[in-house]
C-alpha cells in the first residue's frame, strides 16, 4: 500500500465497533477485575483482547493496539515497583532503599496520567472518534491507517498441501 487509508467517521461506524473499541481501554482495569495483584495482568488481558479483536475492523484494531501498547510503560513501572518491594522485603528481608517511596510517588503519578488519558480515549472511542496517545498513537495509526498499513483482509495463511512427493 502507498496511500494512507481514510479514517472512518463516527456515523460510518456500527455501535458494536464503538463498544469493542471502548472496551479495549477498560482492559487497564483487568487486574482489578480478576482480583489479582499482578501488575502485568492488565497487559496480558489487553494483549489477549487485541488478538481476539484485531481482525474485526481497522477502527477496533487501532484502538486495541493503541490500548495494548500504551500500557507497556506503566506496566513496566509497576512491575519494577512491585519487584523491588518483593525483592527487598519478602526475599532479602532488608529495609527498602531510600528511593523506594519517591519511586512509588512517581509510579502513582504515571498511573494517574495513564488512567486519565485512558478514560478520555475510552469516551472518544465510544463516540466513534480517535485519540492519539504520545508515540503509541502514531504507531497504531501507521500500523492500521498509514501508507504501509497491514492488510486485515486476505487469505487464511498457508494453504493445505499434500506431502512432498505426491
Amino acid at each position: 500500500m502507498s496511500e494512507p487509508i481514510a479514517l472512518p467517521q463516527p456515523h460510518e461506524l456500527s455501535q458494536r465497533e464503538k463498544d469493542d473499541a471502548l472496551a479495549a481501554y477498560l482492559m487497564n482495569f483487568a487486574a482489578w477485575g480478576a482480583g489479582l495483584p499482578i501488575p502485568s495482568l492488565n497487559l496480558i488481558a489487553a494483549w489477549v483482547y487485541f488478538l481476539v479483536n484485531r481482525k474485526k475492523s481497522r477502527f477496533v484494531a487501532f484502538h486495541c493496539f493503541q490500548a495494548c501498547t500504551s500500557q507497556i510503560p506503566t506496566t513496566l513501572i509497576n512491575i519494577l515497583g512491585v519487584g523491588m518491594f518483593v525483592d527487598y522485603v519478602l526475599i532479602l528481608n532488608r529495609d527498602l532503599p531510600h528511593f523506594f517511596w519517591p519511586y512509588v510517588a512517581f509510579a502513582v503519578v504515571m498511573n494517574l496520567i495513564y488512567l486519565t488519558s485512558s478514560i478520555y480515549a475510552c469516551v472518544l472511542a465510544a463516540k466513534g472518534r480517535v485519540h492519539y496517545f504520545l508515540v503509541f498513537g502514531r504507531w497504531a495509526y501507521a500500523r492500521y491507517y498509514g501508507p504501509n498499513a497491514i492488510a486485515l483482509e486476505g487469505g487464511s495463511g498457508r494453504p493445505n498441501l499434500p506431502p512432498t512427493g505426491f
Partner: protein, 203 residues
Amino acid sequence: MNFEIAQQESYSCGELLLRTFFGWLYITAPHMLVLFFVGIWSSILHFISWWVILFTGRYPASFFEFHVKMLAWTMRLNAVTWNLAEGYPAIGTGGSHPAVTLDVPYPESLSRGKLLLRAFLGVFYISIPHGFCLYFRMIATGFLNFLSWWSLLFTGRIPDDWFQFNVGTLRWMARLNLYVTNMTDDYPPFSGKPAIVLESEAT
C-alpha cells in the same frame, strides 16, 4: 430466555456406564481445565461490562455473545454429566449440542439503577432467597439424578417428570446466572418452568 434439552427416545446403557466410571477423566477434567482459563477471561469481561453498562446503559454486543456461548457451554456440559443428554459435549465457546438449546435475547438497553442495586444489595435480594431455594432444589435434583441413573440403566429412559425437573434446575441456574451477570434486567423467577409456561400460568 429459552433453555431446553430435548429428551431422547432411549439412552445408551453402555455410554451411561462409561460416563459414570470414566466421565471425570474424559469429560469433566478436560472441560474444567479449559473452563478455568476461559473463566478468568470471562470474569475480566464481566468486570469491564459492568463499567460499560454503568456509563452507556448497554451491554457490549460481542461480550454478550461470548457470555451466552460460555453459558451454553456450561449448560451442555451439565446436560451430559447429569445424564440428560448423550454424546460428547463440544469444548469451547464455538461448539453446540444437538439436544441442548439456549437462546438469550440481547437487551438493547439495561437499567443503571438495577446494575447498582445488584452490585450493592444483590446479596440480600438475589443470593440469599435464590441460594436458599436452590439449595433444597439441588438436593432434590441430586436425588432424582440418582434415581434416573438406575432408570436409565434398566429401562434406557428417564421418566418425563424427573427429566423436566432436572432441566428446570438447570434453567433456573441459567436465569440466575444471566441476572447476576447483568445480562438481563428481568428478575429470575423462583421456578424452573419455561418462560412460556410461567406466562400462561400468570394469565
